[in-house]
């Protein structure tokens, strides 16, 4: 990268940095050139890092009080809520933190879809991001099982039974996952162990995600390549750091609103009933962030087919950099793609709504249509658009769209002229 080199300020720093270049790394992170036109949709990377760290810290503390045993798990959650000092706060932050994490990750993913951030040369960043997303879903699912309520138990039963759809070896796989013949104590114990492990794997992948990002640098709303260390970039610190912090504060406000005023609104009341292997709740729904995939699972009238389509809906995203053949990254210059992007957003939200409804009548018909459209978008529309869409002309630099607006130059000149005569030498 064409950044200015780190020059140690003291002998000690030079001594240390030549042995372990942490100071060089820190300097790189601060002076890392970012496009100056990044908008607020670019602040969600920082917000997601915050979410991950919050989940790890609150989870670490909860683990000090939680008991992973079918006879004690449910009680130990109530113990945390009633007896442990600030236990209610820590648990509500952890539980709502999961929802906030997914809210942020969905915005982050759709940001990439809109601005074409997954395209060359950023395919590896995109794929690592998707692996993080898949691990997040696994982690959240196993975490939801730990309170050992009715939704925990039956959610775990339904999801682990997905594997029984695999021909021939499916039954053995589910038995292996359970450590028995149904979801029971061995299942709870291993889920707890893995729920503790996976966030650290995610943390490692986040480092790779950022590393891969720092090779080509950020995409930007215009989507054209930016010359690094030119007047088109600004150092990450303090410019982007300040912007990220402002967005983070707003995000935390929403987060805390849920924690303090509606801590259970994103959960399901049935999970305050202890797990009972003899009674299935009349209406099983997963957490909201998994609903679109659940709708796809139920839309297909075959067990194996439903499972295949559900996993395909996730894995198809891995192929996105090659399915979208358009060379233009940003939807700003793709008049047709821009429309289809919003149709896709609507479809995914619709699938989420349908996932929460019973699979019958009009809901079932709509889920089938929405599922079909989801796959058509990626497999048919994107390759066709890449070929036939007439894109708008791209600007030569990221400054052009701002400066080219009629009257902007005059405005700047006028503003500057106000200072004529004043002793503001720095302005000129």
């Amino acid at each position: 990268m064409s950044e200015e080199k780190y020059i140690p300020k003291s002998k000690l720093a030079a001594w240390f940095d030549s042995r372990l270049p942490l100071l060089t790394l820190s300097h790189h992170l601060q002076s890392y050139p970012t496009p100056k036109n990044l908008n607020y949709w670019w602040t969600f990377g920082g917000i997601l890092t915050f979410c991950l760290i919050t989940q790890i810290i609150t989870g670490l503390v909860l683990a000090m009080h939680y008991v992973a045993h079918v006879d004690h798990a449910f009680e130990s959650i109530e113990h945390i809520m009633r007896n442990v000092n600030y236990g209610w706060l820590i648990r509500y932050v952890h539980a709502n933190g999961a929802s906030m994490f997914f809210l942020a990750v969905y915005i982050h993913i759709f940001r990439s879809l809109f601005y074409g951030s997954y395209k060359s040369p950023r395919e590896v960043i995109w794929i690592i991001g998707l692996i993080i997303y898949i691990l997040m879903m696994a982690t959240a699912f196993m975490g939801y099982v730990l309170p050992w309520g009715q939704m925990s138990f039956w959610g775990a039963t339904v999801i682990t039974n997905l594997f029984s759809a695999i021909p021939f070896i499916g039954e053995s796989i589910t038995t292996w996952l359970w450590g028995g013949y149904s979801v029971d104590n061995p299942t709870l114990n291993r889920f707890y162990s893995l729920h503790y492990l996976l966030p650290f794997l995610i943390f490692g992948l986040v480092i790779l995600h950022i590393w891969a990002l720092h090779v080509p640098g950020n995409n930007n709303p215009i989507g054209i390549d930016v010359k690094k260390n030119s007047n088109e970039t600004m150092p990450f610190h303090p410019y982007m750091v300040m912007k990220d912090l402002l967005a983070l504060l707003l995000f935390i406000s929403v987060f805390l609103w849920f924690v303090f005023f509606a801590p259970n609104v994103l959960g399901h009341p049935d999970n305050y009933i202890e797990a009972n292997p003899l009674v299935t709740p009349s209406h099983i729904v997963p957490e909201w962030y998994l609903l679109p995939f659940y709708a796809i699972l139920r839309a297909i009238p075959s067990k194996l087919g439903g499972v295949i389509f559900m996993f395909a809906a996730i894995f198809i995203l891995m192929l996105l950099p090659w399915l979208d053949t358009s060379k233009v990254r940003s939807a700003v210059f793709r008049p047709l793609y821009k429309k289809f992007f919003w149709v896709l957003v609507f479809t995914v939200i619709l699938l989420g709504y349908l996932g929460a409804k019973p699979p019958e009548g009009i809901y079932l018909i709509l889920s089938r249509l929405a599922t079909a459209y989801y796959f058509i978008h990626f497999l048919i529309l994107l390759p066709i658009l890449g070929r036939y869409e007439k894109t708008d002309p791209l600007p030569m630099s990221i400054s052009d769209p701002v400066l080219d607006k009629p009257g902007v130059i005059d405005k700047i000149k006028k503003a500057a002229s106000k200072y004529e005569g004043d002793n503001v030498s720095s302005f000129k």
């Binding site: 339904v158 039974n161 149904s182 061995p186 292997p277």
Partner: protein, 170 residues
């Protein structure tokens, strides 16, 4: 350089080392994988005896076996006739009722939907028998799937009548 390269003694040693190494790694990993399978204490709980003397015709009792609910239903005459009269061609997973119930009066099944493992509700659904609320599978009075995403009939566990009033499951 068109001469064919003959494998040398050293290549053989490399290949042999890789092979032994792979076996070593595999045998080290297997215990780590197999520890997740059902342990001896879980396997030990494999039979249950149930007293069925108090079950009236048209009633079902549910007992727990291997952590799963087992439905034991004393069927009415009407239910038995219905189950026996179904044309096998109409079934997704064709099975005769007489193959599913040793004694037609008693139907013993694992109460776990073959779709994704929920417990079906009794006396519900289009066949007035079992209906799974999770994803809408309907089962008939013989526990055979008639409608919905479930691929198979409700499973019949291994069981036997110890005497007139007792069933041993497992």
């Amino acid at each position: 350089m068109s001469k064919e390269i003959k494998p040398k003694r050293r290549d053989f040693l490399f290949t042999a080392t890789y092979a032994i190494g792979a076996v070593g790694v595999g045998s080290a990993i297997w215990p780590l994988v197999d520890q997740m399978n059902p342990d001896s204490s879980v396997k030990a709980l494999s039979t249950t005896e149930v007293d069925i003397s108090s079950v009236e015709p048209g009633k079902t009792i549910t007992v727990l076996w291997r952590g799963k609910p087992i439905f034991i239903r004393r069927r009415t005459k009407k239910e038995i006739d219905e189950a026996a009269s179904v044309d096998l061609k109409d079934l997704k997973d064709p099975e005769k009722d007489s193959d599913r119930a040793k004694n037609p009066e008693w139907l013993v099944m694992v109460g776990v939907c073959t779709h994704l493992g929920c417990v079906p509700l009794g006396d519900k659904g289009e066949y007035k028998a079992w209906f799974c609320p999770c994803h809408g599978s309907h089962y008939d009075t013989s526990g055979r799937v008639r409608k919905g995403p479930a691929p198979k009939n409700l499973e019949i566990p291994k069981y036997e009548f110890v005497d007139n009033n007792t069933i041993k499951i497992g």
